[in-house]
């Protein structure tokens, strides 16, 4: 993490120093981290002098190959890094496997601290339509509460319930129902 940040800074410095020789703009989409005491970024921009030969230019792929940084929201959500959190029938209890999924999701949220996500609550077709709107809400809220307990700020976590309106698997068997009782994570902004 820290290593990546220095790499980003180094490329920026290098690009500015080169006087715009790089037509390719580094695709840094997220805000810069606050400068540490050892970085010179508080200083005015470097004068347009030739880059000292000692400055190494890291290969660009180091930055661009994290699609979660470079990609747009649609791309990220289509190949979502988050695990779905599954629930038992008529339940919004975050059980062991659900906790494991949420622990993994919390790790991603900590890695990308600017992300705001929406936790969607979903239900299978065996519940009734109106009650499922509330049950899906309880599932989303239970997932949110668990993430907050892991240190994720509540204001990064939105919830919404779709009841049984949007099944992930249109089937009518246990395998489908299991997939459809879930908290589904969507990146809302980054």
């Amino acid at each position: 993490m820290r290593h990546t940040q220095f790499a980003v800074i180094a490329v920026l410095v290098a690009t500015l120093g080169a006087g715009g020789c790089g037509k390719k703009k580094p695709p840094v989409a997220r805000p810069m981290p606050p400068p540490t005491s050892t970085t010179p970024t508080n200083a005015p921009p470097p004068p347009p002098t030739p880059v000292p030969e000692t400055t190494a230019i890291p290969p660009e792929p180091k930055i661009t190959d994290d699609p979660l940084v470079a990609g747009d929201l649609d791309q990220i959500n289509k190949n979502s890094p988050f695990e779905a959190v599954f629930f038992a029938l008529d339940s919004f209890e975050v059980d062991g496997p659900a906790q494991q999924a949420l622990n993994a999701n919390a790790g991603i949220l900590k890695k990308y601290p600017s992300w705001v996500i929406t936790i969607e609550g979903h239900c299978d077709e065996r519940g009734s339509a109106e009650y499922n709107l509330a049950l899906g809400e309880k599932r989303a809220l239970a997932a949110k509460t668990y993430l907050v307990s892991l240190g994720i700020p509540a204001d990064r976590l939105r919830t919404v319930s779709y009841g049984k309106e949007f099944p992930f698997d249109p089937g009518h068997d246990e395998a489908a129902w299991l997939k459809n009782r879930r908290a589904h994570f969507v990146v809302t902004s980054k």
């Binding site: 009734s128 339509a129 009650y131 919830t159 949007f166 589904h184």
Partner: protein, 466 residues
């Protein structure tokens, strides 16, 4: 011996035509009461059946007085729709259409061959005519007591020819009131959510169907779309005056999230109001109107948990009705507005509960568990219908306060959910998966006379206009 008086019912037709949702600048108006004919204070002739049985009724049909296609088609439609409207209330024994067809059609409503109707044991016969006039068509109708030849009900209506069904609905509602003091539902409407537009919601997850709010006549005819947000618009309910639909609308809000708003759509003007918008700290859903139209009860998670709240229809006067860490959801008002029924899982599986409108006196209604979506009918029935899990799916049950018993009225085929009473309490609209997709059906409160109302796409969350 009722006088036959000409009346204008342009009003009713104008109301139907005014459902064009957008584009009008006129403010929302209270629908003027239907112009019912002045009944002369004479002895009323009532068609009755022999030996206490339901009267036997023949719909002899409507005679087109000119042979142009429009008039002929209107006459046929009015006769067919009137048959369905009358049959719907099951007050009369309907003489079968093929038997009726054996009787030659009279040349006019004044020359009805009573002998032939007596042979069919008809107690009453409805005959009418349709004539082209400057304003559209003039429809004359007469209910004749076969035993004596007396006219028990007679009216003339004029209006545009565009929606002949409306003539039939008006005839039946007025005849039902005049003959049996019944409150007809032929001119009421249903509102519901439908994915029939076949649009997909724009967003990160593919293949999510748009649901828009629709309205249609009680029999499913004349469907019209109310919303056009291409998101999820669900759980619509009618304001008591029939002018406004309140519903749950999902609003994707860029980088902020997706919010559930309660939206009021004025169906005659297209105006919209949002008395309870969602935001990162709260969601709002399942709105229902108080019987006087001044308040809306709904479900919201603003306390971190689904609870029942009541607000004035402009969003002011917010009041929390439930305070329990369990789920409290899907409220409905009693017909006098002094109580609410709703669903709570505070003792385990969800049950139907009842409370006073000030939040006091909360109690379980029946022993049934896994219940959903109560709906409360008017006097003289005063019943609460709800969905209850009976196996793999749900069935509709009707709870009677008079007996303290709940009776199952659907048959376990498919899943049967989301009941909504008709304004006269005699019928229930609900959803069923019995034919595959989710469709809206109606059924009489005693479980008879199942009718499929919708057929296009999936159709959910029905609610019946008052």
């Amino acid at each position: 011996m009722t006088m036959t008086r000409p009346i204008l019912t342009c009003l009713a037709l104008a109301a139907a035509a005014s459902l064009t949702v957008r584009g009008q600048q006129t403010p929302p108006q209270q629908t003027p009461p239907p112009q019912t004919p002045q009944q002369q204070s004479e002895v009323r002739t009532v068609i009755s059946g022999a030996g206490g049985n339901a009267p036997k009724l023949a719909i002899a049909g409507f005679i087109p007085l000119s042979q142009d296609a429009e008039t002929v088609a209107a006459a046929k439609t009015i006769g067919d729709v009137l048959y369905d409207d009358v049959a719907y209330e099951r007050e009369y024994y309907m003489i079968a259409k093929d038997a009726v067809a054996t009787v030659p059609r009279p040349a006019s409503v004044d020359k009805v061959p009573l002998d032939r109707w007596r042979e069919l044991n008809a107690d009453g016969v409805i005959v009418g005519s349709v004539q082209k006039v400057a304003a559209g068509i003039e429809v004359q109708v007469r209910l004749i007591k076969v035993a004596t030849g007396e006219s028990a009900f007679g009216q003339r209506y004029t209006g545009p020819v565009a929606n002949p069904r409306r003539f039939a609905h008006t005839i039946w509602d007025e005849l039902y009131k005049q003959q049996l003091q019944g409150r007809g539902v032929a001119r009421t409407r249903l509102t519901f959510s439908s994915d029939r537009t076949a649009d997909l919601i724009k967003g990160p997850v593919a293949s999510r169907d748009v649901q828009e709010v629709f309205i249609a006549d009680y029999d499913g005819a004349n469907p019209r779309r109310v919303t056009n947000t291409k998101t999820l618009n669900i759980t619509p309910t009618w304001s008591p005056d029939g002018q406004i639909i309140a519903y749950t609308s999902y609003r994707p809000s860029g980088g902020m999230g997706t919010f559930q708003d309660i939206v009021l759509s004025y169906i005659t003007t297209g105006d919209r109001q949002t008395p309870a918008n969602g935001d990162p700290s709260k969601q709002n859903y399942l709105p229902v109107w108080s019987p006087d139209g001044t308040k809306i009860a709904f479900t919201t998670n603003r306390d971190g948990n689904p609870e029942i709240y009541v607000m004035n229809r402009d969003g002011s006067g917010l009041r929390r009705m439930t305070t329990h860490p369990a789920i409290d959801v899907t409220p409905t008002w009693s017909p006098n507005g002094q109580q609410l029924a709703w669903v709570s899982d505070r003792t385990g599986a969800p049950k139907i509960y009842v409370m006073n409108a000030d939040g006091t006196g909360q109690r379980a209604l029946s022993a049934d568990t896994n219940c959903d979506r109560p709906t409360w009918s008017t006097a003289p029935f005063n019943e609460i219908a709800y969905a209850v899990r009976t196996g793999p799916g749900y069935d509709i049950k009707v709870y009677s306060f008079a007996t303290g018993q709940a009776t199952k009225i659907t048959d376990g085929i498919g899943s049967n959910e989301s009941p909504a009473f008709s304004p006269n309490g005699r019928h229930i609209a609900f959803t069923s998966t019995r034919n595959g997709k989710v469709q809206i059906f109606t059924i009489a409160r005693d479980g008879n006379d199942l009718r499929q109302i919708t057929r296009e796409g999936n159709n959910k969350f029905p609610n019946w206009s008052q």
